[in-house]
């Protein structure tokens, strides 16, 4: 296929289990086109997650390569690879992997923070300050909206303890009116977590945690979404809920590679790839 977004070529990966080598991937090749929803199936230990980590740049193959949007991922400089992970690839993990000290909003905002430097946040702040000033001068309804928003944010931010101010004022307040913040709010709304935005992961159900993890994965609008058993830790109802979110994202053009061992989950995908003993046995649409 000429319009492949992702291509894995003969990926080999071996782990050392004590002194004996364990070959997990034995020359896996895979192509994913833009907008495709691919499910990678296989038994436990067949190398599904390892393949996902390698195509996402989290792990290195022993042999073979991964090409993302025409660029050989492992030939890229380290910084570029990290940027690619930040902006072009989103990960969803089976165990959510949310930071327990951050609330839902902060967890979802984290990729933006990772990808943005302090000067850029400050620059965004300045732009927003100018916008507010402009609104004041022209007296548009935007003025009321901005003041309401600011006062709400101030009350929320300054109402707590000094310690709360310390760690929220600097980063969170500075981005209060930024585009990233707005984008985050939109996504929180989209995954139905508006009411839970100030809650910490420990206060959420499994489904809510996974929705938060999905929101975090898509907040930077990545071109590729990698999901590792996204429903593996959820009951059937919650699993369906998550799959519905993924299906909707795919309908909106999101490319998704999902690892699962559940055929019912895999049936949602356009194409199912069977991984058996580190090799692709079958690829069916």
């Amino acid at each position: 296929m000429s319009n492949a977004l992702l291509r894995a070529d003969g990926v080999v990966k071996t782990y050392m289990m004590g002194r004996s080598p364990l070959r997990v991937l034995r020359g896996v090749s895979l192509e994913v086109t833009q907008g495709e929803f691919v499910a990678v199936m296989g038994a436990s230990g067949s190398g599904k997650s390892t393949l996902l980590h390698i195509v996402g740049g989290l792990d290195l193959p022993d042999r073979g390569g991964v090409v993302f949007d025409g660029q050989s991922v492992f030939d890229l400089p380290r910084r570029t690879r990290e940027r690619l992970r930040n902006t072009d690839v989103g990960f969803i993990f089976q165990f959510y992997h949310l930071l327990p000290e951050l609330n839902v909003r902060e967890n979802i905002l984290l990729p933006h923070m990772v990808g943005t430097s302090v000067p850029r946040w400050l620059a965004q702040d300045c732009v927003n300050a100018l916008k507010r000033s402009f609104a004041r001068v022209v007296g548009t309804p935007m003025l009321d909206w901005a003041i309401r928003k600011c006062s709400k944010a101030l009350n929320r931010k300054l109402g707590g303890m000094v310690g709360r101010m310390l760690d929220t004022l600097v980063p969170t307040w500075s981005m209060a009116q930024s585009e990233a913040r707005q984008q985050t709010e939109d996504i929180i709304d989209k995954v139905g977590l508006s009411a839970r935005a100030r809650h910490r992961p420990a206060e959420l159900s499994g489904g809510e945690r996974q929705r938060a993890a999905i929101a975090r994965a898509i907040v930077t609008r990545p071109r590729l979404l990698l999901a590792d058993e996204p429903t593996g830790n959820l009951d059937r109802a919650m699993g369906r809920e998550i799959l519905a979110v993924l299906a909707k994202l795919n309908q909106q053009g999101q490319t998704i590679v999902m690892v699962t061992h559940d055929p019912q989950v895999a049936s949602l995908a356009h194409r199912v790839v069977q991984l058996v003993d580190g090799k692709i046995r079958r690829s069916a649409s």
């Binding site: 990960f91 000290e101 990772v114 760690d167 600097v170």
Partner: protein, 525 residues
């Protein structure tokens, strides 16, 4: 952005960080208190040493003193008029002080001074108690005892010149000084300022009375005869002008006790001096130079061969013009002394020659070098000791951060999967260390400054609870109060070092965190 955000969040959310903050706080507090007290002690030593001596001291370190001092002063002032502001001779000797009224006795060091000149070469004027409230009344010359009387409104009135000097002082004194004066207990003794009084009926108009006999004045070290209260004030048991007896042993030029034996002087208590150096305030009394010189037979004496032995003094104190380098001027004065010494027509085998040979020229700092350098070394030593103790805090922070990194391994994987770099992950923990350092050093320095500023009050409070907790005794520590000033530069250096040390403590765990491979971290349970 995320580095600052996560490090601050970990600081607040991880309870273990409080232990690291606590150890930094304690170290900063400890080092700040030690450096401030030792530094303050050193500064007080230097300040008082300079204030009690003069810029340059010419001395021969013997009780006999050295001759031709006045010729030297005159020649020096003529040769270096732009350098030497003033110079004055001083005599040192030892005596027994006896309070005539109570028969209280005490060994003292007698300092013979020309008061007006002595006040010009050092800060002695600022140490005088009565002269502060009755400016210009303190004198070492012949004087009577001032006796307070009463005016027609039954107000206490002092004899002239005390009354008018005091009224003049009141016009220039600040409200605080006036309040302090009015608060102090007056006669009858003991009080903070004590005058003899007439026993007179109400309505008696006095205040112009003096006791009959003229006696030379003596300024007495504050701790020699007065009682120090727990609040640091003094109770004066003897009225100004009380008679004091001073028994001296005049010495010959050869350094033997004069054949005439001891001499007892009757003197009037003219003032007391509080230099705040306990060793001086508890030992020294000050009398008129010329009178003491005469009593000690250090004035020109007729020799058996018909000639005259020149007058002698123990020391010459020299005040230099402002802004001069005392060490550089000392070399010039030393050179001048050698020239002057060579120009004297003295028999090389005579005793005068020997006394002149002992003369040395020193700056006030060189004069006190043993004491000052001892205190300086003590300060460095104590600082090093406490810095070594502080290394424990760095190790503790290292351990705490190692535990934090262990616990946060999965978080490291998550952050890396979101695109964070290894250096970014290391920065999270280094910033975390810096945050611990900033918070700990701010708390420690605020507590340290508060403690140092109130160290005397804290000690007094402890001593009230249990007298054994009086750790700073004026008998032991030269100064009667614990130094309580904080050098802002030293405080800033301590804070910066604490922050850097905290970052260093976090460095190794941070580097370990940076090396974590994201996939391994995500698998970590």
């Amino acid at each position: 952005m995320y580095k600052l955000f996560l490090s601050l969040r970990y600081l607040r959310k991880r309870l273990i960080a409080l232990f690291a903050v606590g150890s930094v706080t304690l170290c900063v507090f400890m080092v700040l208190v030690v450096i401030s007290v030792m530094g303050g002690f050193l500064e007080m030593v230097k300040e008082r040493s300079r204030g009690l001596l003069s810029d340059i001291v010419v001395d021969n370190a013997t009780l006999q003193g050295f001759p031709h001092y006045q010729e030297f002063i005159d020649a020096l002032q003529a040769r270096m008029p732009d350098v030497v502001v003033t110079a004055t001779p001083v005599i040192y000797n030892y005596a027994i002080l006896r309070v005539q009224a109570t028969k209280y006795t005490k060994p003292v060091r007698v300092v013979g001074i020309r008061l007006d000149k002595y006040e010009q070469v050092n800060d002695f004027a600022n140490s005088l108690w009565y002269d502060r409230f009755y400016p210009g009344t303190t004198s070492l010359g012949l004087q009577l005892q001032p006796v307070a009387g009463w005016d027609e409104h039954d107000n206490r009135v002092l004899p002239e010149p005390f009354e008018s000097a005091h009224q003049k002082w009141r016009q220039t004194a600040s409200a605080e000084e006036l309040a302090e004066y009015d608060r102090m207990p007056y006669s009858p003794p003991p009080g903070a300022r004590v005058f003899a009084q007439t026993v007179a009926p109400p309505g008696y108009v006095g205040g112009d009375e003096f006791e009959a006999e003229d006696l030379y004045g003596v300024i007495i070290g504050c701790d020699v005869i007065n009682e120090r209260t727990k609040t640091g004030d003094y109770l004066r048991h003897y009225a100004l002008g009380s008679e004091m007896l001073l028994t001296l042993l005049p010495m010959t030029r050869e350094g033997t006790v004069s054949g005439e034996g001891s001499t007892t002087l009757s003197l009037r208590y003219a003032d007391d001096s509080r230099t705040r150096v306990f060793e001086i305030d508890d030992l020294c009394v000050y009398v008129d130079f010329d009178m003491l010189q005469s009593v000690l037979a250090m004035n020109p004496q007729e020799r058996i061969d018909g000639g005259f032995a020149p007058a002698r003094a123990s020391q010459v104190l020299i005040r230099l013009a402002e802004g001069l380098d005392a060490k550089e001027v000392r070399a010039r004065i030393e050179e001048f002394w050698e020239t002057f010494r060579a120009s004297l027509d003295v028999d090389p085998l005579s005793l005068e020659t020997q006394l002149l040979d002992f003369v040395s020229v020193e700056t006030w700092e060189e004069r006190q070098v043993q004491f000052i350098s001892a205190v300086e070394k003590e300060k460095v030593l104590v600082t090093i000791l406490f810095a070594i103790v502080s290394v424990v805090a760095v190790v503790l922070i290292g351990c705490i951060f190692y535990m934090v990194v262990e616990k946060k391994t999965r978080d490291i994987g998550i952050v890396k999967s979101l695109g964070a770099s290894s250096s970014g992950v290391a920065a999270i923990f280094i910033l975390y260390g810096a945050a611990v350092g900033v918070v700990g050093s701010i708390i420690g320095s605020v507590a340290g400054v508060f403690f140092v500023r109130n160290i005397n009050e804290i000690q007094d409070a402890l001593a009230r609870l249990n007298p054994n907790l009086q750790v700073w005794s004026p008998d032991v520590y030269t100064f009667d109060r614990i130094p309580n000033s904080v050098d802002p530069v030293e405080a800033v250096v301590i804070v910066v070092v604490a922050i850097v040390a905290s970052m260093l403590g976090a460095l190794i765990p941070a580097l370990l965190a940076a090396r974590v491979w994201p996939v391994d971290a995500l698998r970590y349970e």
